[in-house]
């Protein structure tokens, strides 16, 4: 359709994900069945993922959008002569991109040209959800409207007549309650009935004449990767990306300067046209809803009652600050009681394995493979449970409230309300949290959040600190140290955020616009789907690094002579000892600190190997630590461990989010220097006090 499209396909075909996608596309050709690409699009909080999960069942594949760290979910369903390839698009309020997720959704719908779009509409707020449909209707792609959450609408006192809505906008409308599996099959029946050979009839929005006139100006042998009329309307609406695309086209020499000037002149002369476009869409929505939507008067929303407590400036905040740590702690405990048992069993079996297979094989299995598998199993369970709890909170609509409550404070340090969720996740896993900063709207706020995150102690760092402090100090003192240290971490993160927000240019951002979804019953299928996806991603991205990291540590602690006293690890530790002595650490603790580079959780495991005690025997490790280090040194170790550079997985994500090593390395170097300086001060101060 567009000349640039071929170029895009050729370039994209080189990367692995696109090659896989192309191979999958060919399956349809091989089996002789017609392959239909279906985009599942919708505004956030419309139950889009629930519908996608219901439609595809377990036939899902998780990956990344090319060149982005946003998750891409795809599923295939065979029905009769058709193979439906469903793509779950990130939630978007409209086709004007305001975030990376919205850009991905928009570009897939507009540029990748799916065969059908299943537009998910929230029946409880149908007027608002129809805005995306109004924009979709301006394109030529066939649309099926999934009118979801009919049960919630009923609870909220709204009666939606799907037939009348369908008649008003001339598009197929399927009323459904995906969480209860009602109406899901009807979506497929409607998809089956769509004739892809002929354009779908519809009552679309009639845009003002300025759009057509500007589209005529865009007419050229070298066109944009967007349909002309759509691009014209977005230029009028001031869509930054579309303006950039026009400028890029100009830069490539495809368009003449005069033409761009003409476009600019047109835009400056027709500033009111944007209002007219928005007005026409509103008119379209109002007409559609006039007959189809009926409000039952005096019906009070149950969410209102809950919001009196959950959005209360004092009680709401108290609940939030209690709920999140409790949720995290519960996830960790559940993980330790399930996967953690595998880890303990693997470690306890070590001596038996060594006795059965003496020599290198036995040592490798007992000290390398078994603990590594145990750690990964434990981490999978912990991450799984933590995500299950957080997805639950998100699904019932509570996480958005937390963002709202924390916005005032976080805005002062340069972040935003939406930064609260990644920041809280950062207390469990920095890798996951840094990747999760994509939910933050503006680039500046996201940058501040990313820089703050490595300063927050993850669950692994907290565990190491707990073991060290409990080994050396009485319980009460240990708790005070841990709390004090975490407060210092928060202060350091806030200072880093504030410093960055002062130095990074402050463009006039569009600020916070966030929907507070209605409270509703959780859908466990969606929650488990999300957990499954997260675990899959963890296994694919981080588990391998942790597994091989632990194997490398075993190898360097075993070779060349099969004993730790002559190993490479020992030699390297000895080499670092002079630096360690400045902060009261001997070579073993320096090596443990270095090993935390692979994953913070393996610090204790490394020490267990170096002390030649069972890693599952916490008492033995604590006893060994007690004998090997002074209280001042232990404090310095805990401080260094808390401020030390993040793990390998986090560093990889950090680089990917910051865009280059040029931005990542100064941050890491700063953290390294800060960790050493703080450990040095702590050690010498503690020596005087204790």
């Amino acid at each position: 359709m567009y000349p640039d499209e071929n170029k895009l396909e050729t370039e994209c075909g080189r990367c692995q994900s696109c090659a896989r996608e192309n191979a999958e596309k060919n399956i349809g050709a091989v089996t002789g069945k017609e392959e239909i690409a279906v985009a599942v699009a919708g505004q956030p909080n419309t139950g889009k993922s629930t519908i996608f999960n219901r439609l595809t069942g377990l036939n899902q594949k998780v990956g990344n959008w090319p060149g982005k760290t946003v998750d891409r979910k795809e599923g295939r369903v065979v029905r009769g002569d058709r193979v439906y390839r469903l793509v779950d698009l990130p939630g978007t309020y409209g086709l004007t991109a305001n975030s990376v997720e919205e850009e991905i959704a928009r570009d897939y719908i507009v540029s990748d040209d799916p065969d059908v779009v299943v537009a998910v509409v929230n029946a409880a707020s149908v007027e608002r959800s129809l805005y995306l449909v109004a924009e979709l209707a301006e394109l030529n792609t066939p649309i099926v409207i999934a009118l979801n959450m009919m049960d919630v609408a009923k609870h909220e006192g709204r009666m939606i007549n799907a037939r009348q809505l369908s008649a008003a906008i001339d598009l197929p409308v399927v009323p459904m309650t995906a969480s209860m599996n009602r109406g899901v099959d009807q979506v497929f029946k409607t998809l089956d009935a769509i004739d892809l050979q002929h354009p779908q009839k519809r009552n679309s929005v009639e845009l003002p004449s300025e759009v057509r006139r500007l589209a005529a100006l865009l007419d050229s042998p070298y066109s944009l990767p967007y349909p002309k009329e759509w691009a014209a309307s977005k230029l009028i609406e001031g869509d930054y990306k579309v303006i950039q695309a026009v400028k890029n086209a100009l830069k490539d020499g495809k368009w003449k300067d005069e033409k761009f000037k003409a476009i600019e002149t047109f835009l400056s002369e027709h500033k009111e046209a944007a209002k007219a476009i928005v007005g026409r869409r509103q008119q379209w929505i109002d007409e559609a809803c006039k007959k189809a939507v009926e409000d039952v008067k005096n019906c009070r929303s149950p969410s209102e009652k809950w919001d009196r407590v959950f959005l209360h400036p004092l009680w709401g905040r108290l609940i939030a600050f209690l709920a999140i740590p409790i949720a995290a702690l519960l996830g960790i405990l559940l993980g330790m009681f399930t996967g953690g048992q595998v880890l303990f069993a693997a470690m306890e079996g070590g001596p038996k394995i060594k006795a059965a297979w003496p020599g290198m094989i036995g040592s490798m299995v007992a000290d390398g493979l078994a603990p590594a598998l145990g750690w990964i199993t434990a981490l999978v369970c912990i991450i799984g449970f933590i995500y299950a709890i957080f997805y639950f909170l998100e699904d019932i609509g509570y996480l958005a409230r937390i963002s709202f409550l924390t916005d005032t404070f976080l805005r002062r340090i340069g972040a935003g309300g939406k930064s609260a969720i990644p920041l809280m996740l950062g207390l469990m896993c920095n890798t996951v949290a840094i990747a999760g900063t994509r939910v933050v709207e503006t680039r500046r706020q996201r940058l501040v959040t990313i820089v703050m995150l490595p300063f927050l102690p993850c669950a692994g760092q907290t565990m190491v600190a707990a073991i060290f402090t409990l080994a050396i100090f009485p319980v009460k003192t240990a708790i005070i140290i841990l709390i004090g240290l975490t407060i210092i971490n928060f202060l350091a993160a806030s200072l880093a955020g504030k410093f960055l927000s002062l130095t990074v240019p402050h463009p006039r951002t569009d600020g916070m616009i966030m929907e507070l979804p209605l409270f509703h019953r959780p859908n466990f299928r969606t929650i488990f789907g999300g957990v499954r996806m997260r675990i899959e991603l963890f296994l694919r991205r981080a588990a391998g690094v942790i597994f091989f990291g632990l194997l490398i540590i075993w190898a360097v602690s075993y070779f060349p002579k099969g004993e730790i006293q002559t190993s490479y690890l020992y030699q390297f530790g000895r080499f670092l000892e002079p630096a360690g002595s400045m902060i009261g650490l001997d070579w073993r603790f320096m090596v443990a600190l270095l090993s935390s580079f692979f994953a913070k959780e393996i610090t204790v495991g490394t020490l267990a190997v170096l002390f030649s005690v069972s890693a599952s025997d916490q008492q033995a490790i604590m006893q060994a630590i007690q004998n090997a280090i002074s209280p001042a040194g232990a404090l310095a170790f805990v401080v260094a461990s808390h401020f030390y550079i993040p793990c390998l997985g986090s560093m990889a994500v950090l680089k990917s989010e910051l865009g280059s090593w040029k931005k990542t390395l100064p941050l890491l170097a700063g953290m390294f220097i800060l960790a050493f300086a703080l450990a040095f001060i702590t050690y010498h101060a503690a020596k005087v006090i204790i």
Binding site: G94, E237, Y240, Q282, I480, G511, M512, M514, E515
Partner: protein, 249 residues
């Protein structure tokens, strides 16, 4: 100008010191209820002055009093070795036996060796363990040290606020921006001047003429509005740019 600034800072300080003292008071109140339940082994409370015994005969010696005391099998103590304080109070004519670490005390009549009063010294306990003393004595010192100074400051700032209260603005002009809406007020959305913001707001349902109800508005932080059956949280910077029609929706 200076007075306005001073008043502003007085208000701020008064508020935050008040919050600090309020939190400490809450902690103290909770501790008064919870801590004795946790630390008292179930003995009666021994607060107040020790009883005064009858004078007359010469008092028993310490060993005799101790023997008599242990013979009565007192509650809360298994052997005399646990006692870390044994004192004769001549003014009252009683012996006081105590386990200081556990805040337990027994008062024994010096003349007869009979236990007059015993139990848990909740006053001393709350003085030592209250105000987070149960965490660490250093924490108590840290919390208590600025308390008196801050209390004086609270009084001064409070007086200043009383004598120079904020003058209420008369006939406040309604500029028509979203932040000027009162809680529960329902007005119509008029628009925003910026094109990009207009598109963004339109996508979430904020279209010209749409009625908006203010659900939550405070002195700072985002506001919550109800637009077409959807609750939206808008940052104050956005709210200041959103123009409302003055006619009620």
């Amino acid at each position: 100008m200076f007075r306005t600034k001073l008043l502003k800072w007085c208000r701020k300080l008064h508020k935050w010191i008040g919050v600090y003292i309020g939190i400490l008071t809450m902690i103290w109140l909770i501790e008064m209820v919870v801590l004795p339940l946790m630390f008292n082994p179930g003995l009666p409370v021994v607060d107040g002055p020790p009883l005064t015994a009858q004078y007359g005969n010469a008092p028993l010696s310490l060993q005799q009093a101790m023997q008599s005391f242990m013979d009565q099998q007192p509650e809360g103590i298994a052997s005399a070795a646990e006692l870390d304080e044994m004192a004769y109070l001549p003014g009252n004519g009683v012996y006081r036996f105590a386990i200081k670490e556990r805040f337990l005390e027994w008062y024994v009549e010096a003349k007869t060796g009979k236990i007059l009063k015993y139990g848990f010294d909740s006053n001393r306990f709350l003085m030592e363990k209250g105000m987070l003393g149960w965490v660490h004595p250093f924490v108590t010192r840290l919390v208590k040290t600025p308390f008196e100074f801050l209390f004086i400051f609270l009084a001064i700032t409070g007086l200043y606020i009383v004598f120079y209260p904020r003058k209420k603005k008369k006939n406040r002009l309604r500029t028509g921006c979203l932040l000027d809406m009162a809680l529960g007020e329902k007005l119509s959305f008029m628009g925003v001047s910026e094109v990009t913001l207009m598109g963004r707001l339109a996508a979430v349902g904020l279209l010209p003429g749409v009625p908006i109800q203010m659900l939550r508005i405070r002195n700072r932080g985002p506001v919550v509005i109800l637009v077409r059956h959807t609750c939206l949280a808008l940052g104050r910077d956005i709210g200041a740019r959103v123009m409302m029609s003055r006619e009620a929706a």
